[in-house]
Structure formats: structure tokens, C-alpha cells
């Protein structure tokens, strides 16, 4: 039997305000959706255990906590990300156009070792709505032009494609993690109070 090694993956979700970042996270981790929109309050990060290629990994999904609203995400948010999820709203063309700047911002702030091959995943959210403005083809073309970023069309509300998208996110993050382990860039990092934060027993939960 394959050895099951545990590891922690940090995934960050970027995109304009109100494209559904928190809802996607909530849908994936807690299987729930709230129609009441509030600019992200109380959304912090979620953790969920996933199995990828026979390996149990803990995925830690970080929300922007609303700091993207006035373009004020600090560099600390980007540190050590294993995968970056770019979200836009298929009914809001501007949120699609801004994917470029979100991707650039990530590459500048996180400055990953190998920016060419850093795993991104793009999600076109709110496909349950009628007034779609960005075509699948247009989104796919953009993703192809950026080194073939995997693309999913999701609905956080209906739970469409959310599970599958996050499975890909976990898989790609894990590949990144495997490479990072070879570099072993920062060994011996300390988390304070680590017994509480890294306790494996309560893996499927969310602070939002």
C-alpha cells in the first residue's frame, strides 16, 4: 500500500469583490450557500482534508478577508502559497478583465521560485445566473494564453463543479508542494501554539 504522508497546502483565492470567493470556499468546505451578500466579514480560512493520489493532505484555503476591496492586500497574505485560485463572475466582464492584474499581483507579491509553472486555477463563477456576459471561449482562450491554466465554470449557489475544481486545485497545489520540498527553502519553521492549529482531528472546518 502506498504510504500516506500528510501535508499542509496553502491555497489563496483572489478576484474582485463580490465574485463569490467566500461562497465558493463555503460551498466546498461546508456545503452551504447564503444568498445574503455581505462584503466578506469574518471569513478567514478554511481547512479541509482531501485525498489526492492516495495521499491525505490538509488544504488550507485562505480568503482575502475583504482586504481586496480597496486593493489593500498585504504581502503577508501571499506568503508560501502552493496554489492560487483566480475567480471572476461570468456576469461581470470587468471582473474577468481584472484577472490579468490579479495574476500579475500574485506573481509580484508571492514571487514564486518558478513563476512560469506556478499552479493557478481559474473559476468562472455564478453560471446559475441568466445574464451571462463572458463566454466560455473567451475565458478558455485567456487561460490557454497563460500557460494553460485549468479552467472551471462554477456555481457556488448550486454547487456546480465546485468539488471538481477544488480537487484540481489540491492536486496542482500538491505538485507545487512536492517541488518545494526538494528546495526545502525554509526548514524548521515554527508555528506558535501549534498543537491547536495543526491538530489533525478537526480538519474539516471553516472560520467564516
Amino acid at each position: 500500500m502506498a504510504t500516506r504522508k500528510k501535508s499542509l497546502l496553502k491555497v489563496i483565492i483572489l478576484g474582485d469583490s463580490s465574485v463569490g470567493k467566500t461562497s465558493l470556499m463555503n460551498q466546498y468546505v461546508n456545503k452551504r450557500f447564503s444568498n445574503q451578500y455581505k462584503a466578506t466579514i469574518g471569513a478567514d480560512f478554511c481547512t479541509k482534508e482531501v485525498v489526492v493520489d492516495d495521499r491525505v493532505v490538509t488544504m488550507q484555503i485562505w480568503d482575502t478577508a475583504g482586504q481586496e476591496r480597496f486593493q489593500s492586500l498585504g504581502v503577508a497574505f501571499y506568503r508560501g502559497a502552493d496554489c492560487c485560485v483566480l475567480v471572476y463572475d461570468v456576469t461581470a466582464p470587468n471582473s474577468f478583465k481584472n484577472l490579468d492584474s490579479w495574476r500579475d499581483e500574485f506573481l509580484i507579491q508571492a514571487s514564486p521560485r518558478d513563476p512560469e509553472h506556478f499552479p493557478f486555477v481559474v473559476l468562472g463563477n455564478k453560471v446559475d445566473l441568466d445574464n451571462r456576459q463572458v463566454s466560455t471561449r473567451r475565458a478558455q482562450q485567456w487561460c490557454q494564453s497563460k500557460n494553460d491554466i485549468p479552467y472551471y465554470e462554477t456555481s457556488a449557489k448550486e454547487g456546480i463543479n465546485v468539488e471538481m475544481a477544488f480537487q484540481t486545485i489540491a492536486k496542482n497545489a500538491l505538485q507545487q508542494e512536492a517541488e518545494a520540498e526538494i528546495y526545502n527553502e525554509f526548514p524548521d519553521q515554527i508555528r506558535l501554539n501549534s498543537d491547536r492549529n495543526n491538530r489533525p482531528g478537526n480538519a474539516d472546518n471553516c472560520q467564516c
Binding site: R32, G66, A76, R79
Partner: protein, 515 residues
Amino acid sequence: MSDELPEDYDLIVIGTGFVESCIAAAASRIGKNVLHIDANEYYGDVWSSFNLDALINLLEQRPEASLRNATYRWHDRSTSTEPISPSHHPWTREALLAKSRRFSIDLCPRILYAAGQLVQLLIKSNICRYAEFRALDHVCMRYNEEIVPVPCSRSDVFNTKALSIVEKRLLMKFLNGCQVYNIKKCNDDTLAFRGKTFQDYLQSQRVTEKIASCIMQSIALSNVNTSFEEGMERTQRFLRSLGRYGNTPFLFPMYGCGELPQCFCRLCAVYGGIYCLKRAVDNVSLDADTNEVLLSSAGKTLRAKNLVCAFGQVPSQIASNFGELRYNISRAVYITAHPLGGEELNKGGGGVNMMRLLTDSGDRDAIFIQLSHYSGTCPEGLYIFHLTTPAASNDPADDLSPFTAQIFQNNEPEILFSSFFTITSSTFSHSNTSPIFCTDAPSYELDYDAAIANARDIFGRIYAGSEFLPRAPDPEEIVVDGEDPSALSEHNLPDDLRSQLHDLEHSTQLIDIGE
């Protein structure tokens, strides 16, 4: 992204430095409506870390307020006619700037006691989940013009070659004595030293000169003027922090101290605080009727019950409340291609080392911090040296010269870049009725005790009786409003039941089509 900034707040905080961020987080945590702005495009103000390009930009701007007397210099090898030996790294100015983003250079670097105030606050408030740390690899001291490790743990004391067996016994005996010392208990041995200096006490303990300097310099972090009580208290703080993480009693935040204000800001944001960088304030006034603060910024008038402002970002309208400008800290930053001290201190390319320096007369001191790439603050193969001393003049290089002479005397690390600057401050006179508060600029201290005390004080004056940063709950403790945890929805069903439900729906659809 055209989002409208709300106009009414309980608290507006200007500046995202450490103290302001603590206050913003604490206010937001108890349900206050907080707007946190900063004129800069980065977090941290004078408590921030910078990449190399950004640091040079900052030093060239020579801002008026909290950072002054700034200079920098490239110690260029590229222009030298000497042939570069093969062992030398070709670290030219261009090579350094090409790696600019790998640097994270602190204006005010600090070292955390593993059981100190900040670590306790981070754990208590649960803000620790936003940060990672590295245990300091070595505490060093300068003895007989050489840089040697200070034994920190019991096993260190036994293993070190730097001390003789007799010295080891003396050191252990002394430290055990400090551990049982109790300031409240009258003890005949120690009573005699009340009101005297720590050095007096040390000398009475018949320790060797080496042990004495080891304790003075690195364990009690004292100088000749430190009182007995203060020295004992510091020694105890050192001992309390031992054995918690790593081999020394100290921690350093990964990627530099500039991460810490951002951790507090994130908590503030998680509890609903609004963040707006690159937002300058044009005018501040008071509403005579309500005693509320009116702030005009980018053509908007914002209103808040209270205003907290960083010294360096005070709008000119309230700047008249300040006393004379003071020079707080004199700083030096070096980038080198070689670590300080021998192989024993820099195994595997070096980690984070700390050394306290005293002048020959013993009345002035400085903190030296050496960072390698393992701290996430510089590229592999390079080292950052931070030197900090209380400012004595407006010439930071001159203030630091006795210490630079000490560290570079017998060691000539290849210095590639050097920079000097002063962190300034001023006293803000606060009237009892004013809703406007001003935070202190960074002062000379190893850890964040004074900064936290400042944040607590201002928070306490605005929100008397409220708890300062109570623990943010863990996920399983959060109950979402309006959700009945016992209600069953489709998505709450176990996977196998859900798939059965889907199959059922699917087959009904097929039947529909069939009809």
C-alpha cells in the same frame, strides 16, 4: 473596481504600523466599526520590511517625518580593478538588485522572547495562526575581540568548548540563583543589592570575567547602569523563555518583522475592519457639537468617534500638539556575502544570530542581528546585518561607530551595501476630552513590550473596561447566525445518500422525457 467607502465609523486609524494595527485589531475584535488607512502603498509604516529597491527608494526620499538622516552606499566590487578570486561571489550591484524581491529588510527589527509579551499576546488572541517564526540559532557575544556563542540551554552549557568546567559550574550556579530569586521575598543574600546595579551583584558572585560578560551582554541584556532588580528581571525573562522553541529563548518572524502588523490587520479585517492603503488625509477637524472627528480624504468626508494616528502620518492640523522632535533610534543595515563569526556559529549557511554589544565603558549598548536566507529575508548566499542603538545624535553612523568597529575589527565580511538612518519621534500632548490619540514611534527595545503597552493604553482610554484582544474563536466554535444546525439540506447529506437522491432525480427526468 468602484466600491464606495462608507462614511461613518467608530474608529479611524491612520498608519498601519505595529501599534496602530494592534489598536485597530483590538477595536474591531470587540465589534467596533473600524477604518484603517495608510498614506503608503504598503503595510507597516516605519515598522515595515522592504525589498531592496523599495528600501533604496525610501532612503532617497528621506521622508520628513519618522525616518531621517538616511544615507546608503554601494561597496561596489564591479568597479574594482582587483581580480576577483574564485571563492568570491560575483555579487555586483546589478546582481543584488536583480534579486531585490528576495529581500525583506526591516526598518525596526526585533527579537521576540519565546515567552514574552508579544508571543503571549499572539497566542492569547489567536493571531498566531497568521505567522510563522524561526527560533534564533545562536546568541553570541564578543569576548577577547572574538565572537563566541553564548550557551543557552543546559545541554549547551555542558557541550560548549567556550567555557571551562569551573566556568560551567559557576554559570549554572548563578543562573539557578536567579531562577529562585523572588523580588517580593526578602532574602538576605539579595536584600543587600537593592538599589545597587546589576553589575555590583555580578561582581559579588565571584564569577569569572568571561561569565560576567556573558551574563551582562547576552542574558541579562544589561549595561553598567542597569539596576539590580532590572537585571534580575531580565535574566529571569531569558530563563522563562528557554526550552520552548528551538535552542535559544528567542524567535524571529519569518520574512521579517514587517509581517507582524499585517497579522493584526488581518484579524481586524476578518472582524469587519475596512482597509485602504495609499489613502492620504487632507484635513482633520472636530465637529463642535458631537466632538466627533471629521476627516477629509480624496474628496470625501469621513466621520468617526475616535481617531488614532501614527506619529509619522499626523495631518498638519493636529501636528501643533507635538513637542520637539526626538531622535529615537540610530540604525545601520549591511548586506554582506559572509556571515560573522566562525563555522560553529553559521552551520549550514547560518540562521538567525543575535549579539548584544557594549561600549568599552559599558554605558552604551547596541543590538546586532544577523539574518541568513533561512529567515526569508535575503537571497541565499547573502546576509543582512542589522545594528540598532539608542540615538545620541543626528548622525546614526557616528552613534554606531563604536559597535561597527567591534564587529568589523577582526572580521572583514565582504560588505556589499550599507545604509544608516534615524527613527525619530515626538511627544503628543493629549487633552482629556480629545477623541484624537497618537501612537508612539518605535523606541529602543529588543521585544515589543513598550509597543504593546502603548497600544493597550490607548485602547484602554478609548474603550475603558473592554478586553484587549480576547481570543478569536477557532472554527468549530463559530455558529453561523440564522442557521439551524439540525436542519437537513441536500448538501448536508452523506455522499452515498446524496448520490442516491441524484440518481432518483435523474431517473425522474428520464421518465419526463419519455412521456
